[in-house]
Symmetry: C2
């Protein structure tokens, strides 16, 4: 059990994607990480901008954004096309042998179209199965997989999928074969005791502390699905999870939050 090879899995969000200087700095740091690594990227604001510029109005039902067919087309273009290929080209320039994927590619991530009893989310997928064997083959050939948040249902339909969930499902699948460290990079230096105070980083969140902080409502809404994902991943075999600003990847003095069961 202790002989598993390590793999570093990093998820970056819109705050990095939307800022070319930040993205370039992150990609430099990422390219310096040694050994097996995987990148998962979110979308940022460009899909919304593109939707607006071609005259698509956001489809909302009960306050939730719906991915209709036209919006799916846009997110596929932007996430799997523009963002993914530009990241891959930049990593190649930094001597990292990146290869960009949607879940359809090599059937790497298959999803089920979300079937909610009351809300029709449209073309949204919940991860069902990761092709761990092919991922392992790619990693053992020195490939650095770069995933966008698009999956498929195996029946020819592409689906929009939450990037945090993709990261955690990939981490869980890889933990069968690898010793996985999952890093969620976002705009804050970690999970904060006080959302207004960047120095209030919680060094470690255990399940016990998490329950306490949720009860006290000191952990805010957006953080809850992220942390639920983390505890789910840890309970399913992921070795280590860190949440923080991407500077934690290379700056040994940077603060971050570790999540433990």
């Amino acid at each position: 059990m202790e002989n598993k090879k390590p793999v570093t899995l990093i998820k970056i969000g819109g705050n990095i994607i939307d800022n070319p200087t930040e993205l370039s700095q992150f990609l430099s740091d990422f390219s310096k990480i040694e050994g097996n690594k995987v990148l998962v990227h979110g979308g940022g604001k460009s899909a919304t901008k593109m939707a607006e510029s071609i005259g698509l109005a956001p489809q909302m039902i009960d306050g939730r954004r719906i991915t209709d067919a036209a919006m799916l087309d846009v997110v596929v273009m932007i996430y799997a096309g523009q963002i993914n290929k530009n990241i891959v080209a930049q990593l190649q320039a930094k001597n990292t042998n990146a290869m960009g994927f949607s879940g359809a590619d090599g059937n790497l991530i298959q999803s089920d179209k979300r079937n909610h009893p009351t809300i029709n989310y449209g073309f949204v997928g919940d991860v069902k199965k990761v092709n761990t064997q092919l991922l392992e083959t790619l990693l053992s050939n020195g490939i650095v997989p770069v995933f966008c948040a698009i999956t498929h249902d195996g029946k020819g339909q592409l689906l929009n999928t939450n990037a945090d969930t993709i990261a955690s499902e990939l981490a869980i699948a890889l933990s069968e074969v690898f010793d996985v460290t999952l890093n969620y990079c976002f705009e804050k230096p970690g999970v904060l005791f006080d959302a207004e105070d960047d120095s209030s980083v919680i060094e470690n969140i255990s399940q016990e502390l998490y329950s306490k902080l949720k009860a006290e409502k000191s952990i805010h809404s957006g953080m809850i699905p992220k942390l639920d994902n983390c505890f789910n991943s840890l309970s399913k075999g992921v070795q280590k999870i860190k949440i923080g600003h991407h500077r934690m990847l290379q700056d040994k003095t940077a603060l971050y939050t570790t999540i433990t069961l």
Copy 2:
């Protein structure tokens, strides 16, 4: 020399991409081809439509279309995103383990930005190097590579590249290791003696006949770079080249043109 494994390389153009019924029929036929295979797809009209809908005017210099930065963004989105991922998802549904690539992915196709003495083509790349070893690894793992017509310069820049050229350069590179059959599929049943008569398919074009037909001007302008590409590929090791309608892939009675040195 005779022990090389066979690989079938197929290039499809805009006429198939722009017609969902035709595309679906082609992908069914493609999925039935046995053994190693590679697909290269062109772009069709959707990049131009998208450019129009976001208010980009085509940039023309001396009657030639220029790929400026905004147009490059559009072709990357459409070719590497929308078209490529939809093809991959459809092939997966047909039990073909497709994986979609730009040339940046795995550094599979590196180009040089075109440096023309008098015309600035913008972000257009001419193929410089194919990563044959990685392609061979992918094929030997049962992967079916699906290439769009986007490459990169190895310095972080994506480049728009002619799909016919990508097909011929991939064919040449693969011929080092494989016995390559290259199929160009287009709207006509082959190269025609008379452009107006679909039954006038030339069964075989040798270099000698090609010179004669060019001199007589019975081969029209768009066909010339295509055939030049073919003869170049054959002289560099590609085993066999066919040009015709995609029905030639499964319909044994279909006409097509074979190109020989």
